[in-house]
């Protein structure tokens, strides 16, 4: 085993990113509902600080951060490692979680004398557990450690779906759990085969050891299918719309923006770092086809939804599709590694801008639901007059989903489109364009209602604090701001990649 992880001076930040939220979870379980919101908000702030510190260390050092846990070298022990892409994911996670925390604070803060605090306490515990699980996924280097991280993610995400305890959300949560369990079991099976073949679970070591053989192909196929079930790519998306639409707004926002990105990130690592070139090429083509079908099919489904939150949920499946068409486009070549291609940058930007835009959209939808007591699109005529900020947040986030300048989504889709044309994938280029048009369709359907003249004067059933709307607007604005990045491969995303062998290259 040639690769050796060495703890870098600021590697302990990775431990903090994973463990701080765990400490807070224990503290809330021990202390009960009273201080839940306060502990959680403090931890989310600390998490943001750690994330920014990690990003700054990455920029300053120009190399990946590593940490060998307990001093036990892999393959016996476990290492953590953050490269540029992981760093970007961690910062994105911390930002979105922080914003959602601010949004949820008024909803899930314990009012004196109100309720027993079931939903409140549970929400904060689960949100923090999500933070830990996501960070563990982004910095994990060990396939089994990643399995535990994925399970942590599942156990945090599923109860979030049925926090309000209605039968339909419990049903959605159960279905989600079964899909997620099946997914993690398949992933685990692949892990076992890889260990049997190579005697290590360390990704860095595997990137140097892996070669074409039947056990590895079977393992990768199982793991990728399992992760697809968790990422809700067509045709394994059936669990997502009811789960994401049924959850309380802040939960929907994190589920759609962050939770499904973790399996996508792992698929990327498996295909790029572990799969031998031939297998990577085949897998990439198949993933791209599924991604394209996802984009088209679920965009059409989104257009046909009568309820706002269901529409946004279907839009999530469609937007996830874009992340899978990156695989053949970012295949790279002998002198151009995948992470220097424009498609790599485009994919990463799509991931981040979707996270910001989708969380903004779900939060805005949550405000609408809160204000009117329903989210039937047909009955929302003129809601922009009463909730201008939310309508604006929805519209700005929509820009990013459609890929209209200036927005992060525009830069992402533009890069992907250029890559598709340059690499000779006209059908992917056509899919990207069609997906943008369809997204325009479903976003304008809502914006049109927002700006329409209401037939009868529109009444807000419940006043919604302005603060909540501003959080949604800030997230949407951040998604737009990403659009001012230059249209070229982004160096931050390449930090620490060259250390990984070129296993994924032809």
């Amino acid at each position: 085993m040639t690769s050796v992880h060495a703890t870098t001076p600021s590697g302990f930040l990775l431990v903090l990113a994973v463990i701080l939220p765990v400490c807070a979870v224990l503290a809330i379980v021990a202390c009960g509902p009273r201080s839940a919101a306060r502990i959680a908000m403090t931890t989310l702030a600390a998490g943001l600080a750690v994330a920014i510190a990690i990003a700054m260390e990455l920029v300053a050092g120009g190399t990946a951060l590593s940490y060998v846990v307990g001093g036990w070298q892999p393959p016996l022990g476990i290492a953590l490692r953050a490269d540029g892409l992981s760093g970007a994911m961690i910062v994105m996670t911390a930002l979105v979680l922080g914003a959602v925390g601010l949004f949820a604070r008024s909803q899930y803060a314990l009012h004196d004398g109100g309720g027993a605090g079931r939903a409140q306490t549970t929400f904060w515990i689960l949100l923090l557990a999500l933070a830990s699980a996501l960070n563990a996924t982004f910095v994990g280097e060990d396939l089994f450690n990643l399995y535990v991280a994925l399970e942590l993610l599942t156990f945090a995400a599923v109860p979030l779906v049925c926090l309000d305890g209605r039968a339909e959300t419990v049903k959605a949560a159960l279905r989600y759990l079964l899909f997620a369990l099946l997914g993690s079991l398949l992933y685990l099976l692949g892990t076992g085969l890889i260990y049997g073949q190579y005697g290590t679970l360390d990704l860095l070591a595997l990137s140097q050891l892996s070669r074409e053989d039947p056990a590895l192909s079977a393992a990768l196929a199982l793991m990728i299918v399992g992760l697809l079930a968790k990422a809700a790519l067509f045709p394994l998306h059936l669990w997502l719309p009811p789960a994401h639409a049924g959850a309380p707004a802040p939960a929907s926002a994190v589920l759609s923006a962050l939770v499904i990105k973790a399996p996508v990130f792992l698929i990327l690592r498996l295909v790029l770092d572990v799969a031998p070139p031939q297998a990577a090429a085949v897998a990439g083509q198949m993933l791209a086809v599924l991604g394209a079908v996802s984009i088209l099919f679920c965009s059409v489904m989104a257009l046909r939804q009568a309820r706002l939150k269901l529409m946004i949920a279907y839009s999530t499946v469609a937007q996830i599709g874009y992340l899978f068409i990156v695989f053949p486009l970012a295949a790279g070549s002998a002198d151009l590694p995948p992470w220097s291609t424009i498609a790599w940058t485009g994919g990463a930007l799509q991931l981040i801008s979707h996270a910001l835009a989708k969380s903004a959209m779900f939060l805005a939808a949550g405000v609408v639901y809160e204000a009117f007591g329903h989210d039937r699109i047909a009955d929302l005529r003129g809601f922009g007059r009463v909730l201008p900020i939310s309508a604006a947040a929805f519209g700005l986030a929509g820009l990013s989903l459609m890929g209209i300048p200036p927005s992060g989504g525009f830069v992402a889709k533009c890069l992907l489109l250029t890559a598709a044309v340059a690499e000779g994938y006209p059908w992917l280029a056509a899919t990207i364009l069609a997906g943008g048009l369809l997204a325009g369709g479903y976003v304008f359907r809502v914006i049109d209602k927002a700006l329409a003249n209401p037939a009868a004067p529109i009444v807000v059933q419940r006043a919604v604090p302005r603060r909540l709307e501003i959080v949604a607007l800030a997230l949407a604005a951040a998604a737009v701001m990403l659009g001012f990045l230059p249209l070229r491969p982004f160096e931050f995303l390449q930090i620490g990649r060259s250390g990984v062998s070129m296993a994924g290259l032809p």
Binding site: L76, Q107, Y108, G115, A119, F144, Y147, V148, E151, T154, F155, V158, P159, C162, L163, D164, G165, R166, A167, V170, K171, A173, L174, L177, L178, L181, L182, L185, L188, L189, T191, G192, L193, Y195, G196, G199, A247, P248, A249, K309, G366, Y369, E370, D375
Partner: protein, 113 residues
């Protein structure tokens, strides 16, 4: 032929068959409780594959490689927690949809969407 009869291979193959049986139950069984049972059979099959891998890795005075064995122990506990959560959701769902049972008053004031 004798190689197949080594416990490290034989029970690995058993695990492979259990995976198929479990998957069949998960996909085809109409009752959700039986699907949860199917998940457990699938899990048992997967753990057996790990066990076979561990047994094959005997060496250094140990009868088996302890690393996959430890992974299985972790896996069994996680699988149990998952079954517990799934069963609790299933029970709650049936209470809510039937609308009977002592604890089935519709989950008090909804905590909003």
């Amino acid at each position: 032929m004798t190689a197949v009869l080594q416990p490290g291979v034989l029970f690995g193959l058993c695990g492979a068959v259990l995976v198929g049986i479990g998957l069949f139950a998960i996909v085809t069984h109409p009752a959700l409780l039986r699907r949860i049972v199917g998940c457990n059979i699938l899990g048992a099959g997967i753990f057996l594959v790990f066990g076979a891998v561990a047994r094959r890795g005997a060496g250094a005075g140990l009868d088996a490689d302890p690393v996959p064995q430890a992974l299985v122990i972790t896996g069994i506990v996680v699988a149990f927690s998952a079954s517990a959560l799934a069963v609790a959701l299933l029970k709650r769902l049936s209470e809510l949809s039937v609308g009977e049972g002592r604890a089935a008053e519709p989950a008090a004031p909804r905590s909003e969407t």
